[in-house]
């Protein structure tokens, strides 16, 4: 039996050491004997690895699998959410992508929980957001993305306010060997990925290194470069126990500021960070599992710059010159420990329960006017009961009790009843309450600029303090009460899946800033109502059609919030394998007028068409693919602000596997 020994394994002394001390469950190969029948095997499809059928899911779920990721022509993860009904995707200030579901989002999209292999990538810095550029993840390492549309705090805690994006990466045993990919395109697009996957005894691992860069929008100082390295190793300890280790680090930079604006000068934001994660799973069979998940991550950004201004003085005096050093350096840390137990109560009922403990800290002199780190502690207890009341009726009842160090204690319950009169049809009805805890900045921001003023002679220089944010604190968590009715049709013989969701989302205590100096208050309310549906039709192995349509109405005391989601959006996606193995895919979006909150303005309705043509090939031990992608074949449109013009982007990718 040939094994892939790798030089990389030598770089992992800790793992190797663990290997030698761990008993091997592998049996020696050779002639077939009764041992093949009698020996134990590892539990591979464990309770947490088994994907819940869509008909049993407590809500509407969109699954983005590897085939769709590839066929979509996505260059970065956020591109994929354009294919999910009800989602808005944009590229905000400094080439920072933003993703929202049903609007209510500014440049810091903070209403969604994003998990990568159970690790929250929500950044506690500033108002809190997902730093999509720093995910330390290659698209090709993703096995699938499950998007839970709608509030799911009962299972994922606050931040899973409007929905959850669950990114599951591939098991290293599924990406063995070497993989190279290079992308080159206009607007400075240049991406490279290098991966090696190997095995060593009962350890399967992969290590991926990648770089991404582009110039951002024309006429803006927002080009970005990101480099990352990611390791995942899965080791079988016994037939029941599995240990997964992940490490990742990144270094990135992005342009910020504006040419000719001395109050917001052109500068470069440099960021770097790392994470380490260990997940231990013990499977007692396909319906009982104990999981311990621990991770730590640290990120820091350095953004130190000088702003200048002036005040006019009466003639004939020259103006008073103002300057201030802005120290926007920051450092965030998160440590998380989680225990989860899945078990079957009886043949009709399954329980998932567990608890989490999290510690977060943010140090930012700009944000808090002190170099001292600001900390948050979070404790959670969660449970969900999946109870088949009758063959056609499934009840999902769950709740999360969350104790937050300054937002207090909340209980987020969820109840969903699935009725499946026949295997093709499922009707779901449910309600939930969820919360979003205020971020550290919303609770404690104290932004003070220490300005040096140089008046005309003979007056001496002065020191001034200008306070631009002064948070009073005492915020309540934002709250959402959701009622939904949804339908799932799975017509296997036609290859058709239809998913429709009618929703009524009552959002209250929306936190917004007001006044000068700005303070954060629970100010607004919004009622988001609408209907969205997705049709997925795969008539043959060679054809895939997706049709998404969303109708959303937001009623709010704040006009901007009312406009924060397009009233209508439609996406059509077609993918076809052509004779000779060529693959063609086409995406067309029609997005109604909307506006992002925060530093944005109303955007007119737009269309966008993407095209991908790929040719997979195989030559000896090499397997590869050449692809060309054009994003936005139609007229330029505005992405986040009217002046952020998304022009046609073309890029070509060559990938090789061996």
């Amino acid at each position: 039996m040939k094994r892939n020994h790798s030089r990389l394994a030598g770089l992992l002394p800790v793992l190797s050491l663990a290997l030698f001390s761990a008993p091997s469950v592998a049996q020696p190969s050779g002639e077939a004997s009764e041992r093949d029948f009698l020996d134990e095997l590892p539990v591979v499809l464990s309770a947490s690895r088994l994907v819940q059928p869509l008909a049993d899911a407590p809500g509407a779920v969109t699954i983005i699998d590897r085939d769709l990721i590839k066929a979509s022509g996505a260059r970065e993860i956020v591109d994929l959410f354009r294919l999910v009904p009800g989602f808005q995707v944009g590229m905000a200030y400094g080439s920072a992508p933003v993703v929202a579901y049903h609007g209510l989002a500014d440049e810091y999209s903070r209403h969604m929980q994003v998990l990568v292999d159970g690790r929250s990538v929500y950044s506690p810095y500033f108002l809190g957001s997902i730093t999509w550029n720093n995910l330390r993840l290659s698209l090709d390492d993703i096995e699938r993305i499950e998007v839970l549309r709608g509030s799911n705090s009962a299972a994922y805690g606050a931040n899973a306010f409007m929905g959850v994006i669950n990114i599951v990466t591939r098991h290293p045993s599924q990406s063995q060997g070497a993989y190279l990919s290079a992308t080159q395109g206009n607007q400075g697009i240049g991406d490279q990925v290098l991966r090696y996957g190997g095995s060593h005894g009962d350890l399967h691992y992969r290590i991926t290194a990648g770089r991404r860069s582009d110039n951002g929008f024309a006429n803006f100082h927002d080009s970005r470069q990101a480099g990352y390295v990611a390791f995942r190793g899965d080791m079988r300890l016994t037939a029941q126990d599995e240990l997964q280790l992940q490490f990742g680090a990144n270094r990135s930079s992005a342009g910020a500021g504006f040419a000719g604006n001395s109050g917001d000068p052109e500068r470069t934001l440099n960021e770097k960070g790392y994470f380490a994660q260990a997940v231990w799973r013990r499977s007692f069979g396909p319906d009982e599992e104990l999981m311990l998940n621990a991770y730590h991550m640290e990120d820091e950004g350095s953004e130190n710059y000088m702003v200048r201004g002036s005040i006019r003085n009466p003639f004939p005096f020259p103006p008073t010159l103002l300057s201030a050093v802005v120290d926007a350096d920051r450092r965030t840390k998160r440590t998380h420990l989680e225990l989860q137990h899945i078990f079957r109560l009886n043949p009709a009922a399954r329980v998932v329960w567990g608890f989490e403990q999290r510690h977060e800290s943010v140090a930012s002199r700009l944000m808090f006017d002190t170099p001292e780190p600001q900390t948050t502690n979070l404790s959670r207890l969660f449970g969900n009961l999946e109870w088949r009341l009758a063959p056609q009726w499934l009840l999902n009842a769950g709740a999360m009790l969350e104790k937050h160090s300054f937002a207090g204690t909340d209980l987020a319950p969820r109840l969903m009843l699935n009725f499946q009169p026949s295997p093709e049809h499922t009707i779901r009805a449910g309600m939930s309450t969820a919360y979003r805890n205020p971020s550290l900045a919303e609770e404690r921001a104290k932004v003070r600029y220490y300005i040096t003023a140089i008046p005309p002679a003979p007056f001496p220089p002065l020191q001034l303090v200008q306070t631009s944010y002064n948070a009073s604190g005492g915020l309540q968590p934002e709250r959402i009460r959701t009622g939904e009715l949804s339908y799932l049709g799975e017509f296997r013989n036609l290859g058709l899946t239809a998913d429709a969701r009618a929703f009524h989302e009552n959002v209250s205590r929306i936190i917004d800033k007001t006044g000068s100096p700005a303070n954060f208050l629970n100010r607004h309310r919004a009622i988001v109502r609408g209907l969205e549906y997705q049709l997925r039709w795969k008539p043959t192995r060679d054809t895939l059609v997706l049709l998404n349509h969303t109708r959303t109405r937001i009623a709010s005391d704040d006009d901007r919030i009312a406009e924060s989601s397009p009233q209508r959006a439609t996406t059509l996606f077609l993918s076809q394998t052509l004779p000779g193995g060529w693959q063609l895919s086409l995406t067309h979006h029609w997005i109604g007028q909307m506006r992002w909150l925060g530093w944005s303005n109303p955007l007119p309705w737009h269309r966008r068409m993407d095209l991908r043509l790929a040719y997979p090939f195989r030559s000896g031990p090499f397997k590869g693919e050449a692809a060309i992608v054009t994003q936005n074949l139609t007229a330029p449109y505005s992405e986040f602000r009217t002046d952020y013009i998304f022009e046609r982007r073309n890029f070509a990718t060559l990938s090789l596997e061996f």
Binding site: A26, D36, F37, L41, V44, R66, S173, P286, E490
Partner: protein
């Protein structure tokens, strides 16, 4: 307890040799012993006992497991030998060696694995729409190809085969095979299916939403949708039946598969794959009815 096993110097007409003194071998041996109670005196021994000279009343030797089978053949104790609790491929190899050596000792077997046709029947009953069965063949299973082809023809199924020689070939072979099939059937071949390859194989089939049919209870626990296998007690019962015939007629019946078998299913995996799988009892009943016809 091992001390209690007598040497081959007992007084029995049947001697059972176990590959080792482990629970599974003991279960088979004791089942045979109890089923033959009143019909024949049975001694249970381990391999070292074969070194002793033959007992004069001994009429049949039974070997449980591959090691015991090899040791029994090598012992040259010239009474008819029944080997059991070993896969057919191991028996075929043993029989071929014996033919080459022109050894006249009568030899028969009760196989541990299930006949291919029975497994195809199960697949058809469990998944009426599945027509394309995929198998990975390695060094230890390649010789089963004609039997697989024949069974596929008889059961009107389509057989898709990929040959692999080594772990590194499994992933590319699956990549070619999985898009062409409805189910993957695992065969007892440690060069393809073993404790370290089962993970990538199951993950790959699962990703393609395809079920794996295994050949032991461990496969079902690991994530196979179903498996047919014979338990040690069932093997013991069937071996005892063969020995009863042999004691009456003075010669061993020809090699055969166990008529008693167990079905294990993994309803969680079936549910997750969206396969409406019947309960074990109902499916087993239908399979037995089909076999009886």
């Amino acid at each position: 307890m091992a001390l209690a096993w007598p040497a081959l110097a007992g007084a029995g007409e049947v001697a059972i040799v176990m590959s080792e003194d482990a629970a599974v071998y003991r279960t088979v041996a004791e089942t045979i012993q109890s089923r033959l109670e009143g019909a024949a005196a049975v001694d249970i021994v381990t391999i070292p006992a074969l070194r002793n000279p033959k007992q004069k009343d001994l009429r049949f030797l039974v070997a449980i497991g591959s090691q015991a089978a090899n040791a029994a053949v090598a012992s040259h104790i010239d009474v008819p030998l029944l080997v059991t609790l070993l896969p057919r491929s191991a028996f075929d190899r043993l029989a071929a060696e014996r033919r080459r050596a022109a050894d006249p000792q009568p030899l028969s077997a009760l196989y541990l694995d299930q006949p291919i046709g029975r497994q195809f029947d199960l697949i058809r009953l469990a998944m009426p729409n599945a027509r394309r069965i995929g198998v990975l063949l390695g060094a230890e299973s390649d010789h089963r190809y004609p039997a697989l082809q024949k069974a596929a023809q008889e059961k009107q199924m389509h057989l898709a085969v990929q040959r692999v020689s080594g772990d590194s070939e499994i992933a590319p072979a699956l990549q070619k095979l999985l898009p062409e099939i409805d189910v993957l059937l695992a065969l007892p071949d440690p060069s393809v299916f073993n404790a370290s390859t089962i993970q990538p194989i199951l993950l790959a089939t699962y990703r393609q939403q395809l079920p794996l049919f295994g050949f032991s209870a461990a496969y079902v626990r690991a994530g196979a949708i179903a498996s047919l296998h014979s338990t040690p007690v069932q093997i013991g019962n069937q071996a005892a039946d063969m020995l009863r015939t042999a004691l009456a007629k003075g010669q061993l019946p020809p090699p055969r598969y166990s008529g008693q078998y167990t079905l294990a299913t993994n309803p969680h995996v079936a549910h997750s794959l969206g396969i409406p799988l019947e309960g074990e009892a109902a499916l087993m009943q239908r399979l037995q009815q089909l076999e009886e016809r």
